[in-house]
Every structure is written in C-alpha cells, then in structure tokens.
Point group: C2
Chain length 434, copies 2
Amino acid sequence: MNIPEINLKRIVIIGGGFGGLRLAKKLSTKDYQIVLLDKHNYHAFQPLLYQVATAGLEPDSIAHAIRQIFAGKENFYFRIANVDRVDTNSQKIYSDIGDLDYDYLVIATGSDTNYYGNQNIERNAMPMKSIPEALDLRSLILQNLEKALLTNDLDERSRLMNYVIVGGGPTGVELAGAMGELKKHILPHDYPDLDIRRMNVHLIQGADRLLPTMSQNASEKSFKYLEDLGVQVWFDMMVKDYDGKIITTDKRPFEATTLIWAAGVKGSLIPGIEGEGLIVGGRYVVNEFNQMKGFDNLFAIGDVALMITEENPKGDPMVAQVSIQQGKLLAENFNKLKLKKALKPFRYKDKGSMATIGRDKAVVDLPGWKFQGWFAWFVWMFVHLVSLVGFRNKVVALMNWVIQYFQYNKSVRLIIRPYKGKNGQTGDDPNVFS
Amino acid sequence: MNIPEINLKRIVIIGGGFGGLRLAKKLSTKDYQIVLLDKHNYHAFQPLLYQVATAGLEPDSIAHAIRQIFAGKENFYFRIANVDRVDTNSQKIYSDIGDLDYDYLVIATGSDTNYYGNQNIERNAMPMKSIPEALDLRSLILQNLEKALLTNDLDERSRLMNYVIVGGGPTGVELAGAMGELKKHILPHDYPDLDIRRMNVHLIQGADRLLPTMSQNASEKSFKYLEDLGVQVWFDMMVKDYDGKIITTDKRPFEATTLIWAAGVKGSLIPGIEGEGLIVGGRYVVNEFNQMKGFDNLFAIGDVALMITEENPKGDPMVAQVSIQQGKLLAENFNKLKLKKALKPFRYKDKGSMATIGRDKAVVDLPGWKFQGWFAWFVWMFVHLVSLVGFRNKVVALMNWVIQYFQYNKSVRLIIRPYKGKNGQTGDDPNVFS
C-alpha cells in the first residue's frame, strides 16, 4: 500500500462512515500514524440516501471526498481498498491493493442490508445502503413507469406501478413519504398518458406501529402523514418471499415489480477476525472501550460493534449518533493509551431522533420534548444541513430543498445509468444512438 | 409504443438534444401529434460535460428531465427508445420498444465521437460526448491518481500521472484548462504523498493554433492561459495510434494511461435511411428547409445534418446554436406546411463563440467585439447560466461556481461508479465491504 514505516504506532481504520471519519479526525497524528481505508473515496451521509433514490438530491450533496476532509493532516494516509481478511496473529490486513501491518486496528465498516437468509428476496429486492444502490433505485423507479407506458397487459402495468417498501423504521418511512410526494405532486404531470392514481405505494411493517424506537406520538403522526400522501401502510405483517413479481406475506400477497428492502441491517464483518463469543447477531462484541472481546489492539465502533453492559443488555441502537460518539471517545482513549492513563468507558448520550415524511411533515423526539408538523420539519432540515460535511454540500442541499419546497418538485428525475438488474442482465443498451 | 392514432399528422423527432428539444417545444400540437424519442430521459447541456468530468458539477446541473420540460403539453408523447432502423417506404421506425408509423420524421440525433476508423484509439481512449462518459472520465482521472500512489514502478507511476487530451477545439481547451486547475490548486492538497508536480497535462492539436474557428486573439490568449496553468500544448501534431500505454504521433511518443479524445465528431446516423448522395462526411445532406435529399417528409437538424449551399459550400459548424436555430425554424416551417404557405430557408445567424480556460480566464468572440480575461469569463458564465434549462439547474450550477470561485475548489471529486474499462473488465469490486 506504499505507507511509510515511521517511528509511531500505526492505527488502521477500516471504513470512512460516521464513526471512522470522526475517529480519524480527532486522532492526534503526533502520537500515531493513521491509515484510513474505505472502498469508496468519499464519506456518504447515509440518512439522506433516500433523497438520492427519490430524485431529490444528487450524490454530491450527501457525499464528501475523504481526501478533501483530511487535506493537510500529517502522518495520515487514505487508501481506497477492499479488505479481504485480517490476520490477527501477524497483525496484518490483506486487501485488493496489498497487505498492511497494524499496531491497532479499528473496524468501522458499518452495516449492510440484512435479508435474514432469504435468497429470493436478496436476489429480487432493491437495497438502499450505498450511493450506487440509491442511484440504481432512482433509475428503477423511473424505468418501471416508462415500462408501464408501453404495456397493454393490465396485470403487468399494475405490477410495474406498485412500489412496496418493507420496513417501518426511519428509512422505510422517509422513503415511503418521498414516494408518496412523487405520486401526489409530480408524476401526474410527468406521465399524462398513465393513470397515476393507479400507482400504489405500500409500506409493510412487522410491528404494530411505525418508527417503533420513537414515541407513540411520532408513530401515530407519521402514519397519518403517510396516509395523507396516499401511502398504504400495513401493520403486523411479515414478508415471506418474493420472486420478482409476487410478494408473499403472512397475510396477503402483493404483486409488484419493485420491492425496496429496508427491513433490517447486519454488521459488515471482515473474514479472519474470530474468537469465542466475539460475534453475536452479526456484530463484534466490544467492551466499554470498544475493544473487541479477546483482543486489546482490535476495536470496533458504530453499527458493526455490539456493546453489551449490565445496564444496557441489548446494546445501543445502530444509528449515526452512536457511531459518532464512539469514534470521538475512541480517539480520546487512544490519547490516554499513549499517556498510559486509564481509558474512559462509553455511555451513549441520546440526543433524540427524527424523521421527515414530506413537505412540512416531520416527527421529532428530543429528550423531554416531542413535536410534529412544520416546525419539526424545519428542525429536521436544520439538523441535517448542519450535519452534512462541508460548506458546499450544505449550500447545494439547502438550495435544492428551498426550490423543491416552493415548486413542489423533485427535479433529479434522471436515469443516468439505467438499472440493469443485480447481474446487469436486463435493461437498455445506452449506446444505440447519441 | 402505445401512442394513440388521432386525426392529426404525426411528427416523430429522434433525439432530445438542442435541436430536437427546441423543435418539439415550438411545434404546435394543435396541428400535429408530436412524438419525441431519446435514448435518455433527459436533455443534456453538452457544452458543460467537461465540468462533470473534472469534478466541478454533478449531472443534475446540466441535465433536465424531458418529461418535466413538456409537462402539460397536449398531443405530445415522449418515449425512451433506442431506434434500430427506419423504413422510409412504409414510413416506420423500429426500436427496442417497438415500431411506430410516422408522417414526418426529424432526425436530431446529434453527433458522436469520431475516431476516424482507428480501432486501437477507439478501444483505449476516453470519449466525452454523454453524461455517463463524462462520469466515467471523472472516475478514471481520480482512479489513476489512486493507482499512482500504490506503485513503485516509476514508469508506471509516470504513465498514470500523464493525462493527454487530443483536440484543440473548445472541448479540448476547456477540458485541459479544468485539468490544469485541478493540478495547480487542488490535487497537491489531496495527494500529499504524491509529487503532483510530476503530473502532466498534455494537449495535442493538429492545427497550428488552438480554437481554430475563433479569432487569432482567442487562440493566442487561450494558449497563454493554458501555459499559465501548466498545460503543455503541442501544435501541428497528429496522433497515430494508442495501445493504452503509448501514444504514437507523427512527432514524438507520449506514455500515458489516460487519453481523452476530443479530436472529432461524426453524425449519429440511423440504419435504413439511404439514398444517392444523401450521406456526405457521415452526415445527412439537407436542403435549406432541412429536408433530406430525396425525401419530402424526412428532415435532419443539428450536428447530423449537412446543409450545403452555394454561398456556404462547407456547411455550418457543428455547434449548439446551429441546432437550436434549425429546430426553431423547422417548427415554423411545419406550421407553414400546414397552412400550405411557402417554407422559409435557413440562414445561420452566428451569435459568436466562447471558451473558458479557468478561473477569470476565458475568450469571447462576438460579432464585432472580441475580448479575453475576467470579463470574458464573467460573460461566459452568464451566457451558460442563462442557457441551462430550468431555474433549479441555473441555481445549482451558479452556487457551485460561486463556491468554487472563492474556494479555488472543485468539490465533486467522487468516484461514485468506478470506471471498469470499456468492456467492464477491470476495476474494483465495489461490494466487498460497506
């Protein structure tokens, strides 16, 4: 990897998401050499992926080049790498760009879509955990309407115009809201020769309420907002199977060409990191200092880490705030380690949670204050703008939101790269004429 | 294609570029049914493709959804289609989404990269005539720097850091300028462990000056601006061959992994449209009414059309203004046709031309006024902003340019989809960990 050997201990961080990025920013490069690896050259602001998928934003609003973030930082090295495995005995990482020794290794690989072992669903459903996946979804949503125009088979047309989202957590709810807005305000103008009233957006939730980690008020209001936008919400329903046409559940079937799977995530594990009781529920078990069980130079933070304590036996939720706070604390603890001071244990400080369903429609649960409606929507927008990395990203996202607000529009309805299926086998040849 | 048969003559337009779009907008749908076909669902503002390729803009600034442009227009149908061939006897179009009868057919397919029959160059060089191509180029430019970091082979590193652009017209000059800015202001901060002074941007021009269709002043100033940005310009040099590593010219060889081909375009012809003397230099010969030679219901406008008259024996240049003016006039002539009035012959009104080389550096030739420098840059920016389709595109592009101006930055340095070669055979698997 062409990383120089110097007279400092080397910390290798795998993953430039919320946790890895915060850790790398906070770490002192006077005390350590830092190597950050990611399979992309950018940090992606995952909570807004659904806006990329629903034609609201382009990737540049939610992605920020990692090199730009760390410009000028000494003893810091970034590499685009896909890590194949780790050898904890020789303290070595093996990747597609070569191997690398580490003194300390931090796994911050986040999470990926969890299909719970159902291969049919994995083969046929659309995930939305990365920017390329969100762009594929945007293409597919639009492609299916274009296809619906072309068919005279009423069943096929109906399937093409049915969009089923599985999972009533924040991702599913926000995605369903944005789809509802497309259906209500935009698509009828775009497709005058298609009866958009026949388009259906279904949201299937396994629990008996939406946003189950939020307050009862938030659940009820988000349900009402979705109904206002024409989204059909199904509670207490479990999806069993999907063959690309028919979604089988424990209650009724749905016919749909598009199934968006937002029903679960699992830690992104790396082969070679093994130990008794180390992996539980697809995540690395860590102690209060984010050290992996059985290792003192191996750490995991964020979604891929599971910190179980007596007072918190289920662990913290897999959300950005936990990753950020763990990344920040681990940086402090590395400094303490250098000074041979006692490490500080992690305690999650819940700053609250929020979700937006559409224009003027959001739900916010702060500690001690829960509210919904246009002010919640405003708070949601403000918090997300502030959280975006980089001045330019904030400005571009804000401009898009302001214009969308006044125009009732989502303008990025562009099929830049047609979605050709998970194996690239279907879809149009984009090169027949220019 | 599910287009209803109604009691109006049907005009089919193939291509939603500058010409086809203007024509479709101006045509009266009281007199004709209009069908617009394009292989993409958006209109692309091609003069700014180079900014997508050089990390200045995202596609949504220069692309506009065609359906959005025509929302509310009656008797108008848009379809995404790749046209395979035309049968002029039965007046039928055959495409990947079915066939369609036409009463009048307008070919507005524009132009594509012309490699002049050199298959090695076609296989190994990067074109930049569409948004996907510009995104591929952006990925490749960044990927090659990442690769340069990894190699200890000095020859390979040098090849990876050599960027050769062929063609000294507006596309080549603007691209070289943007690459020069990346090299001068941005990449040294992004790649501290790479000696960016060793990066070379070469611009190879066959003629003895840059921008040969513009004034001598514009040629000289653009050359000076490029030199100031560290671009090496080579005049009177013809590229002969390229194997992916070595560029052979009639003078000296260049070793480079990236060759960007901006040296020529050719009309995008459609199989089945044939006739004696109809195709000259890869374009359809048309009369002053843009009617194709030998046909009275077949038209061609823009880059794909070649209008030769006694006073203009070489035809008009292949630029956006010609396409726009021909599209506009053809719409008027269709109305005259309906009223059985005499058609109006086309005369190109040259509104001038301009090119930007970088921050505060542009050249403008207006009829009767030629100027260069920061005011030219300002005029360039104003004209391009006004020309972009849609209010949102203008705002987003302007915001990007203003921020770039003050930050000396180009922030879209994102490898969203790694470029994997023209056959997709190389490159990284983006899915090893998330």
